[in-house]
Protein backbone atom coordinates (compact mmCIF):
# COMPACT_ATOMS: atom_id res chain seq x y z
CA UNK A 1 0.00 0.00 0.00
CA UNK A 2 1.04 3.55 -0.68
CA UNK A 3 2.86 4.98 2.37
CA UNK A 4 0.90 8.21 2.14
CA UNK A 5 -2.38 6.41 2.10
CA UNK A 6 -1.31 4.31 5.06
CA UNK A 7 -0.39 7.51 6.89
CA UNK A 8 -3.82 8.99 6.23
CA UNK A 9 -5.42 5.76 7.40
CA UNK A 10 -3.38 5.76 10.62
CA UNK A 11 -4.19 9.42 11.20
CA UNK A 12 -7.85 8.58 10.79
CA UNK A 13 -7.64 5.74 13.28
CA UNK A 14 -5.77 7.70 15.93
CA UNK A 15 -8.08 10.67 15.45
CA UNK A 16 -10.94 8.20 15.91
CA UNK A 17 -9.34 7.35 19.26
CA UNK A 18 -9.57 10.97 20.34
CA UNK A 19 -13.12 11.23 19.03
CA UNK A 20 -14.06 8.11 20.92
CA UNK A 21 -12.73 9.58 24.15
CA UNK A 22 -14.60 12.82 23.61
CA UNK A 23 -17.83 11.15 22.54
CA UNK A 24 -17.88 8.42 25.20
CA UNK A 25 -18.36 11.01 27.93
CA UNK A 26 -21.11 12.54 25.85
CA UNK A 27 -22.88 9.25 25.19
CA UNK A 28 -22.90 8.32 28.87
CA UNK A 29 -24.87 11.47 29.59
CA UNK A 30 -26.90 11.98 26.44
CA UNK A 31 -27.26 8.42 25.16
CA UNK A 32 -27.85 6.70 28.48
CA UNK A 33 -29.25 9.31 30.84
CA UNK A 34 -30.94 11.28 28.05
CA UNK A 35 -29.63 14.55 29.46
CA UNK A 36 -29.03 16.91 26.56
CA UNK A 37 -25.70 18.21 27.78
CA UNK A 38 -24.76 21.05 25.45
CA UNK A 39 -22.05 22.02 27.94
CA UNK A 40 -20.08 18.97 26.86
CA UNK A 41 -17.87 20.96 24.51
CA UNK A 42 -17.09 23.56 27.10
CA UNK A 43 -16.06 20.87 29.62
CA UNK A 44 -13.50 19.78 27.04
CA UNK A 45 -12.24 23.30 26.47
CA UNK A 46 -12.21 24.07 30.19
CA UNK A 47 -10.02 21.02 30.77
CA UNK A 48 -7.60 22.14 28.07
CA UNK A 49 -7.28 25.66 29.53
CA UNK A 50 -6.99 24.34 33.08
CA UNK A 51 -4.24 22.13 31.73
CA UNK A 52 -2.49 25.22 30.43
CA UNK A 53 -2.72 26.83 33.85
CA UNK A 54 -1.47 23.77 35.68
CA UNK A 55 1.35 23.34 33.17
CA UNK A 56 2.47 26.93 33.66
CA UNK A 57 2.70 26.48 37.41
CA UNK A 58 3.94 22.91 37.73
CA UNK A 59 5.49 22.08 34.37
CA UNK A 60 4.12 18.56 34.52
CA UNK A 61 1.87 17.30 31.75
CA UNK A 62 0.76 14.33 33.86
CA UNK A 63 -0.40 16.68 36.60
CA UNK A 64 -2.36 18.61 33.94
CA UNK A 65 -4.01 15.42 32.83
CA UNK A 66 -5.10 14.29 36.28
CA UNK A 67 -5.67 17.75 37.78
CA UNK A 68 -7.82 19.09 34.95
CA UNK A 69 -9.89 15.94 34.78
CA UNK A 70 -10.55 15.99 38.51
CA UNK A 71 -11.51 19.66 38.44
CA UNK A 72 -13.84 19.17 35.48
CA UNK A 73 -15.38 16.16 37.23
CA UNK A 74 -15.93 18.34 40.29
CA UNK A 75 -17.52 21.04 38.12
CA UNK A 76 -19.80 18.40 36.63
CA UNK A 77 -20.83 17.40 40.14
CA UNK A 78 -21.55 20.99 41.18
CA UNK A 79 -23.48 21.76 38.00
CA UNK A 80 -25.52 18.61 38.37
CA UNK A 81 -26.38 19.04 42.01
CA UNK A 82 -27.09 22.75 41.91
CA UNK A 83 -28.67 23.27 38.48
CA UNK A 84 -29.39 20.20 36.36
CA UNK A 85 -31.14 18.31 39.16
CA UNK A 86 -33.86 20.94 39.24
CA UNK A 87 -34.80 20.50 35.60
CA UNK A 88 -34.36 16.74 35.45
CA UNK A 89 -36.41 15.13 32.69
CA UNK A 90 -37.31 18.42 31.03
CA UNK A 91 -35.40 18.34 27.74
CA UNK A 92 -36.03 21.92 26.81
CA UNK A 93 -34.78 23.35 30.09
CA UNK A 94 -31.79 21.01 30.16
CA UNK A 95 -30.86 22.21 26.69
CA UNK A 96 -31.17 25.88 27.54
CA UNK A 97 -29.43 25.51 30.87
CA UNK A 98 -26.42 23.63 29.53
CA UNK A 99 -26.20 26.00 26.55
CA UNK A 100 -26.20 28.92 28.99
CA UNK A 101 -23.44 27.32 31.04
CA UNK A 102 -21.35 26.84 27.94
CA UNK A 103 -21.76 30.51 26.91
CA UNK A 104 -20.85 31.79 30.34
CA UNK A 105 -17.82 29.53 30.80
CA UNK A 106 -16.74 30.15 27.19
CA UNK A 107 -16.71 33.91 27.72
CA UNK A 108 -14.89 33.58 31.03
CA UNK A 109 -12.19 31.53 29.32
CA UNK A 110 -11.95 34.07 26.50
CA UNK A 111 -11.64 36.93 28.99
CA UNK A 112 -8.94 35.20 31.00
CA UNK A 113 -6.88 33.40 28.37
CA UNK A 114 -7.50 35.59 25.33
CA UNK A 115 -8.32 34.43 21.83
CA UNK A 116 -4.94 33.12 20.68
CA UNK A 117 -4.81 29.44 19.73
CA UNK A 118 -2.97 27.43 22.36
CA UNK A 119 -1.47 24.03 22.62
CA UNK A 120 -0.32 21.85 25.48
CA UNK A 121 3.09 20.24 25.22
CA UNK A 122 3.00 16.48 25.61
CA UNK A 123 5.87 14.88 27.56
CA UNK A 124 9.19 14.35 25.83
CA UNK A 125 8.80 10.59 25.91
CA UNK A 126 5.96 10.85 23.39
CA UNK A 127 7.77 13.04 20.88
CA UNK A 128 9.92 10.11 19.80
CA UNK A 129 8.54 8.72 16.52
CA UNK A 130 7.73 5.04 16.62
CA UNK A 131 8.81 2.87 13.75
CA UNK A 132 6.01 0.78 12.28
CA UNK A 133 7.77 -1.13 9.50
CA UNK A 134 7.54 0.98 6.38
CA UNK A 135 6.79 4.25 8.16
CA UNK A 136 7.50 6.07 11.41
CA UNK A 137 4.61 7.50 13.35
CA UNK A 138 4.31 10.09 16.16
CA UNK A 139 4.42 8.29 19.47
CA UNK A 140 1.88 10.58 21.07
CA UNK A 141 -0.82 9.61 18.63
CA UNK A 142 -0.29 5.95 19.36
CA UNK A 143 -0.51 6.78 23.06
CA UNK A 144 -3.85 8.52 22.41
CA UNK A 145 -5.13 5.44 20.64
CA UNK A 146 -4.00 3.29 23.56
CA UNK A 147 -5.78 5.50 26.09
CA UNK A 148 -8.94 5.42 23.98
CA UNK A 149 -8.90 1.64 23.88
CA UNK A 150 -8.30 1.55 27.62
CA UNK A 151 -11.26 3.87 28.29
CA UNK A 152 -13.43 1.80 25.98
CA UNK A 153 -12.59 -1.46 27.75
CA UNK A 154 -13.00 0.18 31.15
CA UNK A 155 -16.45 1.56 30.34
CA UNK A 156 -17.54 -1.70 28.76
CA UNK A 157 -16.52 -3.68 31.83
CA UNK A 158 -18.09 -1.11 34.14
CA UNK A 159 -21.43 -1.31 32.36
CA UNK A 160 -21.40 -5.06 31.95
CA UNK A 161 -20.04 -6.43 35.20
CA UNK A 162 -20.58 -3.99 38.05
CA UNK A 163 -23.61 -3.09 40.14
CA UNK A 164 -23.33 0.53 38.97
CA UNK A 165 -23.41 -0.77 35.39
CA UNK A 166 -26.53 -2.81 36.08
CA UNK A 167 -28.19 0.16 37.76
CA UNK A 168 -27.41 2.40 34.79
CA UNK A 169 -28.61 -0.08 32.17
CA UNK A 170 -31.78 -0.86 34.10
CA UNK A 171 -32.34 2.80 34.91
CA UNK A 172 -32.21 3.72 31.26
CA UNK A 173 -34.96 1.16 30.60
CA UNK A 174 -37.20 1.97 33.54
CA UNK A 175 -36.11 4.39 36.21
CA UNK A 176 -39.05 3.88 38.55
CA UNK A 177 -38.60 0.12 38.62
CA UNK A 178 -35.01 0.57 39.76
CA UNK A 179 -36.10 2.95 42.51
CA UNK A 180 -38.71 0.54 43.89
CA UNK A 181 -35.96 -2.04 44.38
CA UNK A 182 -34.57 0.25 47.05
CA UNK A 183 -31.82 1.62 44.82
CA UNK A 184 -31.00 5.32 44.87
CA UNK A 185 -30.99 5.82 41.13
CA UNK A 186 -30.47 9.58 41.39
CA UNK A 187 -27.16 8.95 43.07
CA UNK A 188 -26.12 6.49 40.36
CA UNK A 189 -26.87 9.05 37.68
CA UNK A 190 -24.81 11.68 39.49
CA UNK A 191 -21.94 9.20 39.54
CA UNK A 192 -22.28 8.73 35.79
CA UNK A 193 -22.37 12.46 35.18
CA UNK A 194 -19.20 12.93 37.22
CA UNK A 195 -17.49 10.02 35.46
CA UNK A 196 -18.43 11.53 32.11
CA UNK A 197 -16.97 14.84 33.30
CA UNK A 198 -13.73 13.10 34.25
CA UNK A 199 -13.41 11.36 30.87
CA UNK A 200 -14.19 14.60 29.07
CA UNK A 201 -11.50 16.26 31.17
CA UNK A 202 -8.98 13.61 30.12
CA UNK A 203 -9.93 14.07 26.50
CA UNK A 204 -9.64 17.86 26.83
CA UNK A 205 -6.04 17.68 27.98
CA UNK A 206 -5.15 14.93 25.53
CA UNK A 207 -6.98 16.66 22.69
CA UNK A 208 -5.37 19.96 23.63
CA UNK A 209 -1.97 18.33 23.21
CA UNK A 210 -2.99 16.66 19.95
CA UNK A 211 -4.58 19.67 18.24
CA UNK A 212 -4.53 23.39 18.96
CA UNK A 213 -7.45 24.83 20.86
CA UNK A 214 -8.97 28.29 21.00
CA UNK A 215 -12.26 29.85 22.07
CA UNK A 216 -15.01 28.36 19.93
CA UNK A 217 -13.39 24.94 19.85
CA UNK A 218 -16.16 23.75 22.18
CA UNK A 219 -18.72 24.01 19.37
CA UNK A 220 -16.50 21.80 17.23
CA UNK A 221 -16.16 19.23 19.96
CA UNK A 222 -19.89 19.23 20.58
CA UNK A 223 -20.69 18.87 16.88
CA UNK A 224 -18.27 16.00 16.39
CA UNK A 225 -19.54 14.27 19.54
CA UNK A 226 -23.11 14.58 18.29
CA UNK A 227 -22.22 13.19 14.88
CA UNK A 228 -20.29 10.28 16.39
CA UNK A 229 -23.05 9.40 18.83
CA UNK A 230 -25.83 9.72 16.26
CA UNK A 231 -23.97 7.75 13.58
CA UNK A 232 -23.06 5.04 16.10
CA UNK A 233 -26.43 4.85 17.81
CA UNK A 234 -27.62 6.47 21.02
CA UNK A 235 -26.44 4.84 24.20
CA UNK A 236 -24.37 2.13 22.58
CA UNK A 237 -20.69 2.03 23.52
CA UNK A 238 -19.70 -0.13 20.56
CA UNK A 239 -21.72 2.29 18.44
CA UNK A 240 -19.57 5.16 19.67
CA UNK A 241 -16.44 3.23 18.75
CA UNK A 242 -17.82 2.50 15.30
CA UNK A 243 -19.09 6.06 14.85
CA UNK A 244 -15.70 7.46 15.93
CA UNK A 245 -13.93 5.23 13.43
CA UNK A 246 -16.25 6.26 10.58
CA UNK A 247 -15.99 9.96 11.41
CA UNK A 248 -12.24 9.77 12.05
CA UNK A 249 -11.52 8.10 8.71
CA UNK A 250 -13.80 10.38 6.71
CA UNK A 251 -12.30 13.39 8.40
CA UNK A 252 -8.72 12.25 7.79
CA UNK A 253 -9.22 11.28 4.16
CA UNK A 254 -11.25 14.29 3.14
CA UNK A 255 -9.06 16.77 5.01
CA UNK A 256 -6.01 15.43 3.19
CA UNK A 257 -7.51 14.85 -0.24
CA UNK A 258 -10.40 17.36 -0.58
CA UNK A 259 -10.20 19.68 2.43
CA UNK A 260 -13.01 21.98 1.30
CA UNK A 261 -15.48 19.11 1.38
CA UNK A 262 -14.80 17.76 4.88
CA UNK A 263 -18.04 19.03 6.39
CA UNK A 264 -19.95 17.97 3.30
CA UNK A 265 -18.72 14.39 3.62
CA UNK A 266 -19.28 14.31 7.38
CA UNK A 267 -22.85 15.50 7.24
CA UNK A 268 -23.50 13.54 4.06
CA UNK A 269 -22.55 10.37 5.94
CA UNK A 270 -24.75 11.42 8.84
CA UNK A 271 -27.68 11.87 6.45
CA UNK A 272 -27.09 8.54 4.75
CA UNK A 273 -26.86 6.69 8.05
CA UNK A 274 -30.02 8.32 9.36
CA UNK A 275 -31.85 7.59 6.11
CA UNK A 276 -31.11 3.87 6.22
CA UNK A 277 -30.51 3.27 9.95
CA UNK A 278 -32.59 5.89 11.77
CA UNK A 279 -31.31 4.65 15.15
CA UNK A 280 -27.68 4.72 14.09
CA UNK A 281 -25.37 1.90 13.11
CA UNK A 282 -25.67 0.07 16.43
CA UNK A 283 -28.69 1.75 18.00
CA UNK A 284 -31.79 -0.08 19.16
CA UNK A 285 -35.34 1.02 18.68
CA UNK A 286 -37.04 2.33 21.78
Amino acid sequence: MNVNLLMILLNGITYAGLLFMVASGFTLVFGLMRVVNLAHGIFYLLAAYLGLLIYRTTGSWWLCLIGSSLIVAACAFVIHSTLLRRVQGDDQRETLLTLGISFVVGDLLLAYFGGMPQRLRAPEMFSVPVSLGILTYPGFRLFVLGIAVFIGVFLWALLKFTQLGRIIRAGVDDRDMVAVLGIDIDWAFVAVFVLAGFITGLSGVIGGSYLVFAPGEDIHVLTYSLIVVIVGGLGSLSGVALGALVVGLIDSFSKTLVPAFTMFFLFGTLMLVLAFRPHGLRGREK
Binding site: R166, V172, A179, V180, L181, G182
Partner: protein
Protein backbone atom coordinates in the same frame (compact mmCIF):
# COMPACT_ATOMS: atom_id res chain seq x y z
CA UNK B 1 -52.02 -6.70 66.33
CA UNK B 2 -50.67 -3.59 64.69
CA UNK B 3 -51.63 -3.45 60.99
CA UNK B 4 -48.83 -3.99 58.49
CA UNK B 5 -50.27 -1.34 56.22
CA UNK B 6 -52.77 1.31 57.15
CA UNK B 7 -54.11 3.68 54.52
CA UNK B 8 -56.45 6.42 55.58
CA UNK B 9 -58.10 9.27 53.69
CA UNK B 10 -55.73 9.15 50.73
CA UNK B 11 -56.49 11.54 47.87
CA UNK B 12 -54.55 11.54 44.62
CA UNK B 13 -54.89 13.77 41.58
CA UNK B 14 -53.40 12.86 38.21
CA UNK B 15 -53.13 15.60 35.65
CA UNK B 16 -55.94 17.50 37.28
CA UNK B 17 -58.40 14.65 37.66
CA UNK B 18 -59.31 13.43 41.11
CA UNK B 19 -58.50 9.71 40.94
CA UNK B 20 -58.39 8.56 44.59
CA UNK B 21 -61.06 10.19 46.72
CA UNK B 22 -60.30 9.22 50.27
CA UNK B 23 -59.15 5.61 50.30
CA UNK B 24 -59.20 3.80 53.66
CA UNK B 25 -57.69 0.35 53.77
CA UNK B 26 -55.94 -1.72 56.37
CA UNK B 27 -53.94 -4.92 56.03
CA UNK B 28 -52.75 -6.92 59.00
CA UNK B 29 -50.71 -9.84 57.74
CA UNK B 30 -51.70 -12.57 55.34
CA UNK B 31 -53.09 -11.64 52.00
CA UNK B 32 -55.67 -9.08 50.90
CA UNK B 33 -57.07 -8.87 47.37
CA UNK B 34 -57.89 -5.45 46.00
CA UNK B 35 -60.39 -5.90 43.21
CA UNK B 36 -62.35 -3.63 40.92
CA UNK B 37 -62.89 -2.89 37.29
CA UNK B 38 -60.43 -1.21 34.93
CA UNK B 39 -59.66 2.42 35.54
CA UNK B 40 -60.93 2.51 39.13
CA UNK B 41 -57.58 3.58 40.55
CA UNK B 42 -56.00 0.34 41.74
CA UNK B 43 -52.65 0.96 40.06
CA UNK B 44 -52.79 4.56 41.21
CA UNK B 45 -53.14 3.38 44.81
CA UNK B 46 -50.27 0.91 44.49
CA UNK B 47 -48.04 3.57 42.94
CA UNK B 48 -48.94 5.98 45.73
CA UNK B 49 -48.01 3.46 48.42
CA UNK B 50 -44.68 2.97 46.66
CA UNK B 51 -44.04 6.72 46.52
CA UNK B 52 -44.14 6.88 42.74
CA UNK B 53 -47.19 9.16 42.84
CA UNK B 54 -47.82 11.96 45.29
CA UNK B 55 -50.94 12.11 47.39
CA UNK B 56 -52.38 15.49 48.24
CA UNK B 57 -53.98 14.37 51.46
CA UNK B 58 -54.13 11.41 53.81
CA UNK B 59 -51.76 9.01 55.46
CA UNK B 60 -50.14 5.70 54.59
CA UNK B 61 -48.48 3.89 57.47
CA UNK B 62 -46.29 0.83 57.15
CA UNK B 63 -45.50 -0.89 60.47
CA UNK B 64 -46.48 2.36 62.09
CA UNK B 65 -44.19 4.57 60.00
CA UNK B 66 -45.57 7.27 57.70
CA UNK B 67 -44.66 6.69 54.04
CA UNK B 68 -46.16 9.76 52.41
CA UNK B 69 -43.50 12.19 51.23
CA UNK B 70 -40.75 9.56 51.20
CA UNK B 71 -38.78 8.65 48.08
CA UNK B 72 -39.57 5.28 46.44
CA UNK B 73 -36.15 3.87 47.22
CA UNK B 74 -36.53 4.64 50.93
CA UNK B 75 -40.02 3.11 50.99
CA UNK B 76 -38.64 -0.01 49.34
CA UNK B 77 -35.85 -0.21 51.91
CA UNK B 78 -38.39 -0.24 54.72
CA UNK B 79 -39.51 -3.61 53.38
CA UNK B 80 -42.11 -3.10 50.65
CA UNK B 81 -41.68 -4.86 47.33
CA UNK B 82 -43.56 -4.21 44.10
CA UNK B 83 -44.54 -6.58 41.31
CA UNK B 84 -45.85 -3.99 38.89
CA UNK B 85 -48.64 -4.19 36.38
CA UNK B 86 -47.23 -5.29 33.03
CA UNK B 87 -44.19 -6.89 34.78
CA UNK B 88 -41.83 -4.16 33.60
CA UNK B 89 -38.73 -6.33 33.39
CA UNK B 90 -35.59 -4.59 32.13
CA UNK B 91 -34.87 -5.32 28.52
CA UNK B 92 -31.14 -4.67 28.77
CA UNK B 93 -30.62 -7.07 31.68
CA UNK B 94 -30.48 -10.85 31.71
CA UNK B 95 -32.47 -12.90 34.20
CA UNK B 96 -29.44 -13.29 36.42
CA UNK B 97 -28.62 -9.59 36.25
CA UNK B 98 -32.16 -8.70 37.34
CA UNK B 99 -31.72 -10.68 40.51
CA UNK B 100 -28.17 -9.46 41.15
CA UNK B 101 -29.32 -5.89 40.67
CA UNK B 102 -32.12 -6.18 43.20
CA UNK B 103 -30.37 -8.36 45.79
CA UNK B 104 -29.04 -6.42 48.72
CA UNK B 105 -27.24 -8.77 51.11
CA UNK B 106 -26.96 -6.24 53.93
CA UNK B 107 -30.66 -5.44 54.20
CA UNK B 108 -32.33 -6.76 57.29
CA UNK B 109 -35.42 -8.82 56.80
CA UNK B 110 -38.52 -9.56 58.84
CA UNK B 111 -39.95 -12.54 56.97
CA UNK B 112 -39.09 -16.10 57.97
CA UNK B 113 -37.13 -16.88 54.82
CA UNK B 114 -34.10 -14.98 53.63
CA UNK B 115 -34.41 -14.56 49.88
CA UNK B 116 -31.29 -14.63 47.79
CA UNK B 117 -30.75 -15.42 44.13
CA UNK B 118 -30.51 -19.17 44.73
CA UNK B 119 -33.79 -19.26 46.66
CA UNK B 120 -35.57 -17.57 43.78
CA UNK B 121 -34.24 -20.19 41.37
CA UNK B 122 -35.51 -22.87 43.76
CA UNK B 123 -38.94 -21.23 43.76
CA UNK B 124 -38.97 -20.84 39.96
CA UNK B 125 -36.72 -23.47 38.34
CA UNK B 126 -37.88 -22.19 34.94
CA UNK B 127 -35.91 -18.99 35.54
CA UNK B 128 -32.72 -20.91 36.17
CA UNK B 129 -32.99 -22.43 32.70
CA UNK B 130 -33.22 -18.93 31.21
CA UNK B 131 -30.44 -17.48 33.34
CA UNK B 132 -28.59 -15.70 30.50
CA UNK B 133 -31.65 -14.53 28.57
CA UNK B 134 -32.66 -10.91 28.40
CA UNK B 135 -35.78 -10.01 30.31
CA UNK B 136 -37.96 -9.20 27.34
CA UNK B 137 -37.07 -12.45 25.55
CA UNK B 138 -38.98 -14.43 28.18
CA UNK B 139 -42.57 -15.59 27.87
CA UNK B 140 -45.24 -13.65 29.76
CA UNK B 141 -45.31 -16.18 32.56
CA UNK B 142 -41.54 -16.23 32.89
CA UNK B 143 -41.48 -12.45 32.99
CA UNK B 144 -43.99 -12.58 35.83
CA UNK B 145 -41.76 -15.05 37.72
CA UNK B 146 -38.84 -12.72 37.15
CA UNK B 147 -40.80 -9.70 38.36
CA UNK B 148 -41.73 -11.63 41.52
CA UNK B 149 -38.19 -12.90 42.00
CA UNK B 150 -36.77 -9.42 41.53
CA UNK B 151 -39.04 -8.11 44.27
CA UNK B 152 -38.32 -11.07 46.57
CA UNK B 153 -34.55 -10.64 46.68
CA UNK B 154 -35.10 -7.21 48.22
CA UNK B 155 -36.51 -9.26 51.14
CA UNK B 156 -39.79 -7.38 51.60
CA UNK B 157 -42.15 -8.02 54.44
CA UNK B 158 -45.02 -6.66 52.32
CA UNK B 159 -45.36 -7.44 48.64
CA UNK B 160 -47.63 -5.36 46.41
CA UNK B 161 -48.70 -7.29 43.31
CA UNK B 162 -50.51 -5.44 40.56
CA UNK B 163 -52.51 -7.80 38.34
CA UNK B 164 -50.05 -10.70 38.49
CA UNK B 165 -52.34 -13.01 36.50
CA UNK B 166 -52.69 -10.61 33.56
CA UNK B 167 -51.91 -12.42 30.31
CA UNK B 168 -50.88 -15.70 31.95
CA UNK B 169 -51.84 -19.11 30.64
CA UNK B 170 -54.00 -21.19 33.04
CA UNK B 171 -51.07 -23.41 33.93
CA UNK B 172 -48.81 -20.45 34.57
CA UNK B 173 -51.54 -18.90 36.68
CA UNK B 174 -51.55 -21.97 38.93
CA UNK B 175 -47.76 -21.76 39.24
CA UNK B 176 -47.98 -18.15 40.38
CA UNK B 177 -50.84 -18.93 42.82
CA UNK B 178 -48.72 -21.71 44.27
CA UNK B 179 -45.79 -19.29 44.61
CA UNK B 180 -48.03 -16.78 46.41
CA UNK B 181 -49.05 -19.46 48.90
CA UNK B 182 -45.40 -20.16 49.63
CA UNK B 183 -44.76 -16.46 50.17
CA UNK B 184 -47.57 -16.01 52.67
CA UNK B 185 -46.49 -19.24 54.38
CA UNK B 186 -43.03 -17.70 54.65
CA UNK B 187 -44.44 -14.71 56.51
CA UNK B 188 -44.70 -12.16 53.70
CA UNK B 189 -47.88 -10.07 53.62
CA UNK B 190 -49.50 -9.64 50.22
CA UNK B 191 -51.64 -6.89 48.77
CA UNK B 192 -52.81 -8.33 45.46
CA UNK B 193 -54.61 -6.26 42.86
CA UNK B 194 -56.58 -8.57 40.60
CA UNK B 195 -59.24 -8.70 37.94
CA UNK B 196 -59.37 -12.48 38.02
CA UNK B 197 -61.66 -13.55 40.85
CA UNK B 198 -60.25 -17.04 40.60
CA UNK B 199 -56.72 -15.82 41.19
CA UNK B 200 -57.76 -13.36 43.88
CA UNK B 201 -59.85 -15.83 45.85
CA UNK B 202 -57.19 -18.54 45.58
CA UNK B 203 -54.51 -16.29 47.00
CA UNK B 204 -56.49 -14.26 49.54
CA UNK B 205 -59.20 -14.87 52.07
CA UNK B 206 -60.15 -11.24 52.29
CA UNK B 207 -61.10 -8.75 49.58
CA UNK B 208 -61.67 -5.03 49.22
CA UNK B 209 -63.43 -3.46 46.25
CA UNK B 210 -62.17 -0.19 44.83
CA UNK B 211 -64.73 1.77 42.83
CA UNK B 212 -64.10 5.21 41.31
CA UNK B 213 -61.44 6.07 43.82
CA UNK B 214 -62.83 4.72 47.09
CA UNK B 215 -63.18 1.39 48.89
CA UNK B 216 -66.85 0.52 48.64
CA UNK B 217 -66.97 -2.99 50.08
CA UNK B 218 -64.78 -5.29 52.14
CA UNK B 219 -65.16 -8.79 53.44
CA UNK B 220 -64.38 -12.47 53.05
CA UNK B 221 -64.20 -14.17 49.68
CA UNK B 222 -66.69 -17.00 50.19
CA UNK B 223 -69.39 -14.40 50.92
CA UNK B 224 -68.49 -12.34 47.88
CA UNK B 225 -68.51 -15.28 45.51
CA UNK B 226 -72.02 -16.16 46.70
CA UNK B 227 -73.31 -12.59 46.31
CA UNK B 228 -74.14 -12.22 42.63
CA UNK B 229 -75.74 -8.83 43.09
CA UNK B 230 -72.57 -7.43 44.61
CA UNK B 231 -70.44 -8.98 41.91
CA UNK B 232 -72.42 -7.57 39.04
CA UNK B 233 -72.72 -4.17 40.70
CA UNK B 234 -69.04 -3.65 41.44
CA UNK B 235 -67.19 -5.99 39.18
CA UNK B 236 -69.42 -5.90 36.10
CA UNK B 237 -69.37 -9.65 36.13
CA UNK B 238 -72.34 -11.65 34.94
CA UNK B 239 -73.41 -14.79 36.78
CA UNK B 240 -71.87 -17.17 34.31
CA UNK B 241 -68.41 -15.63 34.51
CA UNK B 242 -68.22 -16.14 38.25
CA UNK B 243 -67.90 -19.85 37.65
CA UNK B 244 -64.25 -20.63 37.09
Amino acid sequence: MEPVLEISGVHVYRQGSHILKGVDLSLSGGSLALIGRNGMGKTTLISTIMGLLRSSEGSIRFMGQELIGKKPCLIARKGIGLVPQGKRVFRSLTVDEHLKLAFEPKRKHQADIYWNVERVYELFPRLKERIRQEGTRLSGGEQQMLAIGRALVTNPSLLLMDEPSEGLSPIMMETVIEACHRLTAAGISLLVVEQSLHFASSVSDRYAILMTGAIVQQGEFPDLLRDRQLLSAYMGISNTRVAR
